[in-house]
Amino acid sequence: MKKLQMFLRMVGKAFKERKSRVAIAFFAIVVGVGIIASLFSVYYDISIKMSEELRVYGANLVLAPDLQAANKEMNIEQLDKIVNKFDKDKLVGYRPNLYGVAKAKAKGILDVKKPVVLVGTWFDQVDQVNPYWKVEGELLANKSVDDEVVIGKEAAKKLGYDVGDTITISVEETGKEEKLIISGIITTGNEADSQIFVNLSLAQELLGKPDKINIAYFSVLGQNLSSKVKKINKTVNGIELETIKKIASSEGKVLNKIKSLMYLVVMIILLSTLLCVSTTMMTIVTERKEEIGLKKALGAENSNIITEFLTEAAILGGIGGLVGYGLGFLGAQAIGQSVFDSYISFRIMIVPASFILAVLVSCIASIIPVRMVVDIDPAVVLKGE
C-alpha cells in the first residue's frame, strides 16, 4: 500500500513539475481524441445525414396503378393506405398527381386556346418532394385554395402570362371552365415547366374525376428501400410502389463512397494523433533523461520506470480522452451545424470508446519513448571524464 502511495506521489508530482510539457501532451491528446471522437460521431451519423441531404434530389419512390387498372387511375384512399405503412420520421414527404389535358387561353390574343397539361397536386408537399423547384411568386397556401394556379415557366412564356395575371382554364370533356389567378411560376428544367398546377381537389372537379389520382411521389429516408417496397407491394392490390432507380440506386452509390472516404479519413487522423502524442511523449522522456538515469542508478528497473511512464501516459490519455470527447462532441456539432444544419446525435457508446481509444493511443504512442527509456544508461548521472 505504502509502495502504491509513493508511486502515486511520484507520478502526481511529476505532473505538477512539468506543467507546460504535460499540458502540451495533454493538448495533443485532447486535440487528437477530440478530432477522432467528432469524426466518429459524424461517421456514425453520416449515412443518415447524407441520405437526408440527398433528399434534395426529391422523390425516390413512386406509387402508380398497376397495368390492370383502368385509365391508369387509383383512388386517393389507396394512397393513404401506403402512407400508413411508413414510419412518420422516415417519410420526408409525398405528393399525389392527377393529370389531364385542358385548354388555356393565351394572353392578349382573343379566343386562342392552347392545349396544356393540367396537374392537380398538393403544394404543401413540394418543398419535401421537389425541393429543387424554383418558385417565382408563391405556391398555393393550402389544399382548399380553388381560385389560384401555379404554371410552369415555359407555359408562362408561351402563353404570355406573369405572376398576378388571371388565366382561363377549360376542360372540353366536362365542359367546365375556371378563371384562376396565377400565384407562382416554377422553373424545374423538366416537363413540369410546360404544365399548369392547381390544387388536387380543383383538378378532380375540373376533370370530372372525384377522388382519383394518377401517381404519387414519395421521398423516403433509409437504406434497403427496395426490400421495403417489395414487402408493401405484397399487401396491396391494383397499385404498385416502385423505387425510382435513378435516385435510389445513385443514392446508395454516393453514400457508400462518402462512408468509405470518411472511414479512411478517420484512419489518417488516428495516425496523425499517434504521431502527435508519440513525439510529445518522446520530448518528455528526453527532458527527463537525467532523472531516469538517476532512478536507474538508485536501483529502479526498466519495468519500474516504464510503469511510471505508462501510468502517466494512461492518466494523460484517460483524462485527455474524456476532455477530448467533450470537445469532439462540440466539434461534431460544429460540423453538423455547418455542414448538415442539424445536430449530430449523442451516442453513449462513443464515450467509453474514446476513453479507451485515448488510453490505447497514448500507450501505443509511448512505445518508442519507452524504448528510449530502456536505452538510457544509469551512468549518465556520473560525471563523465
Binding site: K2, K16, E17, L298, A300, N302, G384
Partner: protein, 228 residues
C-alpha cells in the same frame, strides 16, 4: 576476501581503447578508499564497474561475493539496489520531490517507502528540519547531505561517491567530509572518486590510476583528520 574484489579486470571500448588495463584490487569491509588520477585515467570506468552500471571486458568483478561480470542489466540493477549507495557530484535530486521524498525514492525502488525512516535518515545527516523543502530551496551542502541520506537509506554494503565535493564551496565541503568521516567511523565502507589530493588523503588508502593502470599504491595514511 574483501567486500570488493577486482581480478585482472580490463575494460576495452571499441577496438583498442583500454580504459582499464588488467587491474586487480581488493577492498575490505569498513575501509575508506579514494580513487585518484588525472582525466582519462579510467576513474569513471572503474566507478561504472563497481557501481554495477557496466561489466568488464575481461576479468572478474565481485561485490560482496557476487560475480557481476556475467550479469545482465536487470541483475546488475538488483545488485546495485541491494549493495550500493550512490553519491554524485551534481547531487541529482529529483527536482519536483521534497528532500524526504527524494530519500523515499531510493526506498521505493529498493523495497518499501517508509516516510518515518526517511526522516530519521535526514536527521542523521543533520537535516531533520528541512525534510519538506524542495532541492532548489536547499544549499549545495544540504543537497549533498540529502544525497548521502538517500545513499544510506537502504543500508548499503558500499557507499560509492563520485566527486562528492566537486560542486561545493569550502565550508560545505568540510561539512560533507565530516559526515563521511562519521560514516567511516560507524563502519561504513566508502569508495570515493576525487581528483583533489587533499580530499583523497582523508581515505585510509589511495588508489592512483593512470592510463587504465594502477600506479604504485602509496602508503595508507594513518593520520586522518580534517584538512582545513
Amino acid at each position: 576476501m574483501g567486500l570488493i574484489t577486482l581480478e585482472n579486470v580490463s575494460k576495452i571500448y571499441g577496438e583498442d581503447v583500454k580504459a582499464l588495463d588488467n587491474i586487480s584490487l581488493d577492498i575490505k569491509e569498513g575501509e575508506w578508499v579514494s580513487i585518484m588520477g588525472p582525466s582519462g585515467s579510467g576513474k569513471s570506468t572503474m566507478l561504472n564497474l563497481i557501481g554495477c552500471m557496466d561489466t568488464p571486458s575481461k576479468g572478474v568483478v565481485k561485490i560482496d561475493g557476487i560475480d557481476i561480470s556475467e550479469l545482465d542489466k536487470k541483475e546488475l540493477t538488483k545488485v546495485r539496489r541491494e549493495k550500493i549507495g550512490l553519491v554524485f557530484q551534481q547531487f541529482h535530486l529529483v527536482p519536483y520531490l521534497t528532500a524526504v521524498e527524494n530519500v523515499m525514492v531510493a526506498q521505493y525502488y529498493h523495497s518499501m517507502a517508509e516516510e518515518e525512516e526517511a526522516r530519521k535518515a535526514l536527521e542523521r545527516v543533520g537535516l531533520g528540519h528541512r525534510g519538506n523543502h524542495l532541492p532548489k530551496e536547499l544549499s549545495g551542502g544540504e543537497q549533498q547531505r540529502v544525497c548521502i541520506a538517500r545513499a544510506l537509506i537502504n543500508y548499503p554494503k558500499l557507499i560509492l561517491a563520485d566527486e562528492p565535493t566537486g560542486n561545493l564551496d569550502k565550508e560545505n565541503e568540510n561539512i560533507v567530509l565530516d559526515l563521511f568521516n562519521e560514516l567511516h567511523d560507524q563502519g561504513h565502507t566508502i569508495m570515493m572518486v576525487t581528483h583533489d589530493p587533499k580530499v583523497g588523503q582523508l581515505a585510509e588508502r589511495q588508489i592512483n590510476l593512470d592510463h587504465g593502470k594502477l600506479k604504485d599504491t602509496p602508503q595508507i595514511s594513518k593520520e586522518r583528520g580534517l584538512v582545513s
